[in-house]
């Protein structure tokens, strides 16, 4: 069985996002970019399934600018077998990504596709679900444990007030929750090996997928600055300010 994992290059979780000067998006010049943390978990899970002898190959797929190759290399250094980059400078919205992923799935015929439950940049939480719908596959979102048994898979996922257990047949789609696993570090020998692993680059046209955007971003703004607190001298002053300045009582 092949496993396909999607890995996205995003603004590092620990970097403070700043709106660009044109107000059209986030400033990405000279800031640290890393693999989406949920995707690290997806890669880790795929590797564990392979190491348990339940899959033969893990393929890391990314879509976007040419530097996304670095993100694929990270997945390869963790242990994925090969990479595919669908290279484009165009903006990619979840539907476009889902379609590209479906086109690759049609070629590769994986038994399992694992993606993060969301990317920490746009927080869409849509790609996995759209992909499953396009493929007409069963889906298990926000998985916190995965168990594969032949053609069947058991998933638990956190829901309000408890755990839900699902069972479904493969091929299927999983989106990962934070609790699923603790991703490994890339170690030196694997980083060296990763340099030699195959990485195919193709374009959306090669896959004959229409990636045009369905949504238009009008404007991006910083949230309003929180006003500094004020220390008042007495309860009377507090009441007065709440009444006359804040006008909340």
């Amino acid at each position: 069985m092949k496993i396909l994992v999607a890995v996205k290059r995003v603004l590092d979780y620990n970097v403070k996002a700043r709106v660009n000067s044109e107000g059209t998006g986030i400033d990405l010049a000279n800031v640290k970019m890393s693999m989406n943390p949920f995707d690290e978990i997806a890669v880790e899970e795929a590797l564990r399934i392979k190491e348990a002898g339940k899959a033969d190959e893990v393929i890391a797929v990314s879509m976007g600018v040419s530097q996304s190759q670095e993100t694929i290399r990270t997945a390869l250094a963790m242990g994925a077998d090969r990479g595919i980059l669908v290279e484009t400078d165009a903006e990619l919205q979840p539907l476009a990504v889902a379609k590209l992923l479906a086109a690759i799935a049609a070629r590769e015929e994986p038994g399992l596709v694992i993606v993060g439950k969301q990317a920490i940049d746009d927080d869409s939480n849509q790609t996995g679900q759209m992909f499953a719908a396009l493929m007409d596959w069963p889906q298990a979102t926000f998985a916190s444990s995965v168990e594969i048994d032949g053609e069947q898979m058991k998933i638990s996922r956190e829901v309000d007030g408890g755990m839900e257990s699902l069972s479904m047949s493969l091929p299927a789609l999983i989106t990962t929750d934070l609790r699923l696993n603790e991703p490994r570090y890339a170690k030196l020998p694997n980083i060296m090996k990763a340099k030699k692993k195959p990485l195919d680059v193709m374009s959306p046209e090669d896959l004959e997928v229409d990636i045009s955007s369905r949504l238009k971003t009008l404007k991006v703004e910083e949230p309003e600055q929180r006003k500094a607190g004020e220390i008042v001298g007495s309860v009377a002053e507090l009441v007065d300010k709440l009444k006359n300045e804040a006008k909340v009582i």
């Binding site: 620990n14 640290k32 890393s34 670095e70 250094a77 890339a186 170690k187 030196l188 020998p189 060296m192």
Partner: protein, 483 residues
């Protein structure tokens, strides 16, 4: 309960008088003063008539002059995070703790001159943040940066993890403003890289641990923010191999190499035991590890390329057997956490005897091997907790009791060995022309020990500097120089 201000019968002056002498805050109740009278490691406790917190430089002048007039001693204090008891007054009755904490404004940032001028009471974190907001880097960085102050950093000539690239506090300072022991203001806030106009007073005050005057402001160097930073942890067999790796890293990365820290396996064991969120990162233990950081001026891709090339070559040469490269900031932080949690893990494991030493980098390998042998032959079973800034020749060479003697009931017996263990270690340091206090200063902790290793000529020169700048011995008595 607040104590009443009292008049000092001897001088006829006292708290009321001092209260009226300046505008800032005066603390005199036992409860208010308590945190200022004990050091960070809770080893030294002293007393004072009051803690003065001036609100301005002018105020500092007034407090110092009041002390001159009324013959009080002055103990300058910043964030009180020092490691040598230098900011804690002795048990005398005529001490005033002069806390700079409320003089804490960033005065100016000059991005063309690449300097920042700040009040002495600014915390290090505050200065780093102000630099970052101006698109610059202030490279001094310490685990205590949220609390320690620039005045304290300069007075102890603090080091930290990036000395290798940017130097210690002294090398980052271009100018000072000082209130002298006589209560005069020396305005030396020059933002000059070159200034050969006589004796360097700035460098006398830096590292003097409050014994010569009160630093009220400083002009500091700024650097460009690197475009990318990368962190790696590599396994090495011995300090000798670590040194070879250092040579290779300096050759290949040159100025981009910003940190090079040695960590022994004992350290990681301790961290894993006391910080469950920091497990040992390799399945197979290695006797030593090196934490490296590079800061690249070009790009993340360039940083990755150079860093990987270095580690591949080190691996080819057999210097390292494995390594982890952190590919996100979170991962990099976890690697640094391994290093930064060592002190606390060691404290949690029980009493230990600390040394903060530096030796010529070329001597480190032999020093570690030889000193371990000597200590083990005299104190069988003791465990060496060795880590530190290898790239600066600076090791935190700490000694823990033997595993079977580490219970609390054995603590006193172990601490009783302190002076003997210090002597073996420090003699070994002296034998290679090293220093018994690399970063933390002398304060009271290492004062007498340092005097033992300095020549009479050096001590006499130091005393004449003290005599010249503080003839009445008013500034921080009992610190740095033995009586």
């Amino acid at each position: 309960m607040v104590d009443k201000p009292q008049l000092n019968p001897e001088t006829g002056s006292g708290l009321d008088d001092l209260r009226n002498a300046f505008e800032g805050r005066l603390l005199f109740s036992e409860a208010d003063m308590e945190p200022f009278l004990i050091d960070w490691r809770r080893r030294y406790q002293g007393s004072a008539l009051a803690v003065a917190q001036p609100a301005s430089v002018d105020d500092v002048v007034k407090v110092v002059r009041w002390c001159v007039k009324n013959d009080f001693y002055i103990v300058p204090q910043g964030g009180n995070t020092g490691m040598s008891g230098a900011a804690t007054p002795d048990n005398g009755e005529r001490n005033i703790v002069l806390s700079l904490a409320r003089i804490n404004q960033v005065r100016a940032v000059d991005t063309v001159n690449n300097t920042i001028t700040v009040d002495a009471g600014c915390t290090l974190a505050q200065v780093r943040q102000a630099a970052e907001q101006a698109g610059r880097l202030f490279p001094l960085s310490l685990p205590s940066e949220g609390s320690c102050t620039i005045g304290g950093n300069l007075s102890t000539n603090a080091g930290g993890c990036q000395v290798l690239r940017y130097g210690n506090a002294r090398e980052l300072c271009l100018g000072l403003e000082v209130v002298t022991a006589a209560g005069e203001l020396w305005q030396g806030l020059r933002g000059l890289r070159k200034d050969n106009t006589g004796y360097d007073l700035r460098d006398l005050y830096i590292g003097s641990e409050g014994t010569l005057g009160v630093i009220t402001a400083a002009t500091l160097k700024l650097y460009p923010q690197p475009a990318a930073r990368m962190t790696a942890l590599a396994t090495v067999d011995s300090p000798h191999a670590a040194l070879e790796l250092l040579g290779l890293a300096q050759q290949q990365l040159s100025a981009s190499l910003t940190a090079f820290e040695l960590i022994s396996d004992v350290c990681l064991e301790l961290v894993a035991e006391h910080f469950p969120q920091c497990p040992k990162p390799f399945e197979d233990a290695s006797p030593y590890y090196v934490l490296l950081e590079c800061s690249d001026a070009e790009s993340q891709a360039h940083a990755t390329e150079c860093f990987e090339a270095l580690l591949f070559e080190a691996s080819d040469k057999g210097l390292i057997s494995d390594a982890i490269i952190a590919d996100s900031i979170a991962r990099s932080n976890s690697l640094w956490a391994l290093r930064e949690n060592i002190s606390e893990a060691q404290a949690a494991a029980g009493k230990n005897i600390k040394h903060d030493i530096s030796v010529p980098i070329s001597a480190i390998g032999d020093f570690v091997v030889q000193t371990e042998k000597q200590l083990l032959s005299q104190f069988p079973g003791v465990r060496m907790v060795v880590f530190g800034h290898l790239g600066d020749g600076n090791l935190h060479y700490n000694v823990s009791p033997a595993a079977d003697l580490s219970g609390a009931e054995h603590a006193d017996a172990f601490v009783g060995l302190q002076s003997q263990i210090n002597k073996v270690t420090h003699d070994a340091v002296a034998a290679v022309n090293g220093s018994i206090s690399a970063e933390h200063g002398l304060g009271v902790l290492r004062r007498d020990e340092a005097a033992r290793y300095k020549s009479p000529v050096e001590l006499a020169l130091m005393r004449s500097v003290k005599q010249a700048l503080d003839p009445h011995g008013r500034m921080n008595p009992g610190k740095v120089l033995p009586d």
